[in-house]
Structures are given as C-alpha cells and as structure tokens.
Symmetry: C2
Subunit: 149 residues, 2 copies
DNA sequence: CTAATGCTTGCAATGGAAGTGCAATTATTG
DNA sequence: CAATAATTGCACTTCCATTGCAAGCATTAG
C-alpha cells in the first residue's frame, strides 16, 4: 500500500520514537492507524478502521491491531455488542500485566463506547477460594452527548 | 424429535407448572433443556447444549434458549470469551427489568463461568451527564476448584 | 553497497457463532 | 375431530475473527 505522508511530520516523529521504544518496526500502515486511533475519542471496531483505510487490506489492519495489543499500545474492549473494540492505552498503562482497571461506558443510544480512564474499578469481593486476577466492567446507558448534557 | 421421558416425573411436573406460569407451552425439548440447565452448576454455551442433545437441531436449541431468555427463565452472560453463555435465573430474579445485578466469575484455568448470585454489583459512579442503566461485571481469575480449595 | 535474513503485507480461504425463511410437525382450542 | 396457533427441522446466510502462503519491504552482516 502506497500512502502519501501528508500528515504532521513532527507528530509522526514522536510516534516513530514511541514505536521504537516498543520495539516494533515503523511502517506507513502502523503510523496511520496509530494516528487514527489517537484522533478518535471513542473505542473503534476493526470495521471502523477498515472504512477509514479502504485501500488497505483487512488482514493487515487486523494484524496491526494485534501487534499493538501485544505491545500494550492498545487495549481490547468487550462492551457486550459482540464486536471487539479497541482504544489506545494511556501513558503508563500496564494492561499487559494486570488488565486495565478503568471502566468502559457503552451508550445504548449512539452505540459508542468510551474509556472512562479516570474511573477506576472498585475492589470486588469474591468468595473464599476464588482468586481474582482481572475485572471487566462495562456500564451501559446514555452518554453525555445523547442525554443532552 | 422423539424422546423417552425417563426423567423424574415429580420434578418434571413442577417444571411444567413453572412453564405454565411463564405462559409458554410445555414441550419435550423445553423440559429437557431446562433440566439440563438446572443440573449444571455453571453457565453453558449453545454448543454445550448441542453436545448434550445431539439428536436435536441446533436451531431448536437456539430458539428454546431465546424463548427462555425472553421469559426471564435464563439470562445471558458475556464473559469476554466471545461466546455467549446462559444460566438459569434465580427465583425472583427480574433481569427483564433491570439487568442482573450479580457478578460473574470466569476461571482462566478450567474456562468455566459461574454466577455469583449473592455477590451483588456495587454502585458504580459515572461522570456528569452519563446515565447508567445497566452494568456488566465479570471477574476473571482462578475458581475455587482450580485453586485447590 | 549488496546479499541474506526476517518482519510485514495482501490475497484467498476457513471456521465458528448467530440468525432467518419456509415447510412440516405438534399442541391447543372449540 | 377440525381449525388454528405455536414449535421444530432443514437449508441457508451473514458477519466477525483467524490462518497459510507467497510477495514485498526493512534491517543487518559482510
Ligand atoms: Mn479503555
Ligand atoms: Mn448469572
Ligand atoms: Zn450516546
Ligand atoms: Zn476453574
């Protein structure tokens, strides 16, 4: 895939350094997808990315996201819609080790899912003998935009 | 599908009454699937049911579960594995109205998912402007059987 | 700089779960 | 028993996720 790199070179430079720190190669696809995710304020599906980059192959997008996931650049969100969504990890996020402790909100009206990164998941009690390693919490309802503030 | 009704008639009688109270017809399939769910202590997938009733058609099993769901006889569980699981609702459960407020535990070792029906989901704070209608909380880790008590 | 090596990409194909249309079967009602 | 309504089985379909393989591109050793 040939792309015209008409995007901000300064930003791109930073992303390149970031990729290097994560020990992954810098490619046009990866830069573009990273930028796409960074500009979105909501979690996206693979189809969303597909629609944004129609010239690229679905598999490449899929594998790029998988690579990002392995390197803790993005995290998966299962919001119960049946379609996996992805969002950039926060700086200093360590979802490789213990999963993402913030909660996610899914709007039943506009169908968007957002990370509530500063809403941490409270400590959850489990019965004797059970060991909790990881918690997934999704709140569903109406988002701020849809509720009319 | 022809089945030999070699199962406890007294129990069956109770289930029949239960179905009547839910205003659904009593059929062999429904009785068998209900009994199957009642005997399981874990949430099951459609495939689990399929394997247990190989003579039955998948679609019938699928639609039976859907009917149970609509009538609040079972509730769906999305434990993040990507495959929907089902479990019987507790007596007095009203997951039709407000979703199931108990939490679910998914064992990363044996891959089983169980309802922790008496572990209710705590009140979750959401930001200004957001309206919470419903919460899905899944704890992942090691279950009591796998942790060695 | 060039060649060898290994990672990345595109294409084609597969698998699995979920869901639907329609006709045949079975249950309920009168 | 006949008419009516709900349930079941079969054949398809759709959609997302995932993989094998060969071609393309980037990195590194020489
Ligand atoms: Mn998130
Ligand atoms: Mn449950
Ligand atoms: Zn919304
Ligand atoms: Zn276990």
């Amino acid at each position: 895939m040939k792309v015209v790199m008409d995007i901000n070179y300064i930003n791109m430079n930073e992303i390149e350094k970031f990729f290097a720190s994560k020990k992954i190669r810098v490619t046009a696809m990866r830069l573009l997808i990273y930028k796409f995710l960074a500009e979105k304020e909501v979690a996206v599906t693979l189809s969303d990315i597909e629609n944004a980059f129609e010239k690229a192959d679905r598999t490449t997008l899929y594998r790029t996201i998988k690579t990002f996931e392995e390197k803790a650049i993005v995290h998966q969100i299962d919001d119960g819609t049946g379609i996996t969504k992805y969002a950039l990890c926060e700086k200093g996020c360590n979802c490789e080790i213990e999963t993402d402790l913030h909660l996610h909100f899914h709007c039943n009206n506009c169908n968007k899912t957002i990370c509530l990164t500063d809403h941490k998941i409270p400590q959850i009690k489990v019965p004797e003998g059970f060991i909790s390693e990881n918690v997934n919490l999704v709140v569903k309802g109406i988002c701020d935009k849809c509720s009319g503030q």
